[in-house]
């Protein structure tokens, strides 16, 4: 049996890496990558060798995607094209259209297709929201205390709704929805990684959220496994363990600056309008209450666990960005040597 895989969202780091890994798989004949812009070339920053991947420039919001799927006899679809922040040109409306209408078009095309057998959709743990009424650890069947009402999280929960509808109508197709924790790693560029590369880290006064990360290598591996094997269902994907925001700041050797939550929100908005790192309301909530998910379902289904724990993923990120100057640890060592030595 030969396979032809369609990967959406290949202009971005994880999407490009998944496409490249699948292109290296001898069991797969063709990998077709689609996106609104071509993937970055190897010579540029963040470029990934794409191997045999064929790039087709398609705007997912248009019905063109149906032609791509029909023409190439696609049998596996990996839908990675969910954007978490509004693009530089255009705003929230464009982002929502891209996420939600794009998914609807893609799923519509898949429903028509006679060849598609497997659909893997990238979602996010942000669909659980983040509030003081939530359980400390979310399992896949948890109902959020307050369902996300805006932004990326709302897009993702709408996307998941359409995916569930599709799975109901096409029971012969194996549909996997992957709820990823925040990506972390040397190549990841997200609002959160940009947040951690600031010289001073604004935090919300009186809150120390629990965070979870998934290393990019593990994310790529999970997506690859889901693309080549049938694992229908919804799965949380996160590295083992948790890190508190205060721990992250200390490990990355960053000075944190607690500010009251209204000020934090205002700073986020100012930064966003200035084109710097912006923080949306749902990220503000994450910075207050944090979010942790249970990943038992994933490890049971795959018989595999992410290689990087949350702490290791973060360590790899700060190592690659050369963030850990180690001043506090060096100071502590010096004091301990001078006192005990």
């Amino acid at each position: 049996m030969t396979h032809t895989v369609l990967v959406t969202g290949v202009s971005r780091h994880i999407g490009a890496r998944v496409a490249s890994v699948l292109a290296d798989d001898p069991g797969i004949d063709r990998v077709i990558g689609v996106d609104t812009v071509p993937p970055p070339s190897l010579s540029r920053d963040g470029g990934v060798p794409l191997g045999r991947m064929e790039f087709v420039r398609v705007d997912l919001r248009s019905p063109d995607i149906a032609q791509v799927i029909a023409a190439a006899d696609i049998d596996i679809v990996v839908h990675m094209s969910l954007v978490s922040a509004p693009p530089r040109s255009g705003g929230r409306a464009l982002m929502k259209e891209h996420n939600v209408i794009g998914t609807m078009q893609l799923l519509g095309a898949c429903q028509r297709s006679a060849t598609v057998r497997r659909v893997v959709v990238r979602s996010t743990t942000a669909v659980y929201g983040s509030s003081p009424h939530d359980p400390a650890v979310f399992t896949e069947d948890a109902e959020p205390g307050e369902p996300p009402s805006h932004g990326y999280a709302k897009d993702a929960s709408e996307v998941e709704g359409y995916v569930r509808g599709f799975a109901r109508r096409r029971r012969d197709v194996a549909v996997s929805t992957l709820r990823f924790a925040n990506f972390m790693g040397p190549g990841v560029d997200s609002p959160l990684t940009r947040y951690f590369t600031q010289p001073v880290l604004p935090t919300v006064f009186g809150f120390d959220p629990r965070l979870q990360f998934v290393h990019e290598d593990d994310a790529v591996e999970v997506l690859r496994r889901m693309a080549v094997e049938d694992h229908p269902g919804t799965f949380n994907v996160a590295g083992d363990g948790v890190l508190l925001l205060s721990q992250c700041a200390r490990r990355a050797d960053l000075l944190s600056m607690p500010v009251p939550s209204p000020v934090f929100r205002l700073m986020g908005e100012l930064a966003r309008s200035a084109g710097l790192v912006g923080f949306s309301p749902e990220q503000l909530r994450l910075m207050c209450h944090g979010r942790v998910v249970d990943t038992t379902a994933l490890s049971t289904a795959l018989g595999w666990k992410p290689k990087f724990s949350t702490a290791a993923a973060f360590q790899d990120f700060i190592h690659a960005r050369d963030l850990a100057g180690g001043l506090p640890s060096a100071l502590a060592d010096m004091v301990s040597r001078s006192v005990t030595g």
Binding site: H133, P135, A136, T139, A142, R210, L244, Q247, P328, T340
Partner: protein, 289 residues
């Protein structure tokens, strides 16, 4: 000879303190998925309230052998004191007076997690939101989980109703224990009722702040922050015979009659224990009253 031994001991302690500070500064410590920071709790937070436990309230514990050493259990206690100091004292009791130094994981009201500082301190000291998922999860992991089923009705009752056990919620805690098959350890706490005798309630202000009550005590709000100093009542904490649930089927957790009956049984036991312990203690403020 003893000099060098002392010196070695002091050096060792100093080295340990420095290693602790280094871990704290560089973030190289572990927290569990609930945000429980065991090291911070033991070395800093419990250290701060230990004098209160030992010298101010002169707390005595009874029946500690009824609390399992390794496996999970659900401790069900009466709640009182206007401010929930009884939870903190119960935590010190189980950590310092239990041979296995058990960490108490309390299930708290969501009000706690809405407030800055309070919510994250509560998570760091091992506590979490009172909800089914968290309770089940902690019990499955073999932790000692503590609940105050009376909730605000218990902790915020007026001084005139002291030691009168309130209604026990909806029995969710019993269902969690049945699902996990862990014993329920009834627990009576005597002494907390007298720390902030609530003789009035600023209802209007409480509502404005979104609080369940704002107490008037003999010292608060008249003496400002001084009114927050708890009265030095004598405390006793007693743990009763465990009530087994492992003979029940986990599916029985969905049988409301059984859950209600078991809830009543636990309440009766706590009530009885409370009366006995109160008699045993005698005056609240020995040797004066």
């Amino acid at each position: 000879m003893s000099d060098t031994a002392d010196g070695g001991e002091a050096d060792h302690q100093l080295a340990e303190t420095l290693a602790f500070l280094r871990r704290r500064l560089t973030g190289e410590y572990e927290v569990d998925e609930f945000g429980f920071d065991a090291e911070l709790t033991d070395k800093v937070l419990l250290e701060l309230i230990r004098p209160l436990y030992r010298h101010w309230f002169r707390t005595e514990t009874f029946g500690m052998r009824n609390v399992p050493g390794e496996s999970g259990a659900l401790i069900v206690a009466n709640h009182s004191g206007t401010l929930p100091l009884d939870g903190l004292m119960l935590q010190v009791a189980l950590y310092d007076d239990h041979p296995e130094r058990r960490a108490l994981r309390l299930l708290g009201a969501d009000l706690v997690y809405r407030f800055p500082v309070l919510g994250h301190l509560s998570r760091k000291t091992g506590h979490t939101l009172a909800c089914r998922d968290d309770a089940d999860r902690l019990l499955r992991k073999g932790q000692i989980v503590g609940v105050f089923p009376e909730g605000f009705k218990g902790v915020g009752k007026p001084f005139s109703e002291r030691y009168r056990l309130q209604r026990f919620g909806r029995g969710g805690f019993v269902a969690s224990a049945i699902r996990a098959g862990v014993p329920i350890v009834p627990c009576a706490i005597v002494g907390a009722e007298e720390i902030y005798p609530k003789i009035g309630d600023l209802r209007f202000l409480a509502r404005a702040f979104g609080l369940p009550y704002l107490p008037i005590t003999p010292l608060f709000p008249w003496f400002g922050p001084l009114g927050l100093v708890p009265l030095p009542s004598k405390w006793m904490i007693g743990f009763g015979e465990p009530i087994r649930t492992d003979e029940l089927d986990p599916a029985d957790a969905d049988d409301p009659m059984l859950v209600f009956n078991l809830t009543d049984q636990v309440r009766e036991v706590v009530k009885q224990q409370l009366d006995e312990l109160r008699l045993r203690r005698g005056h609240a403020f020995p040797p004066f009253l």
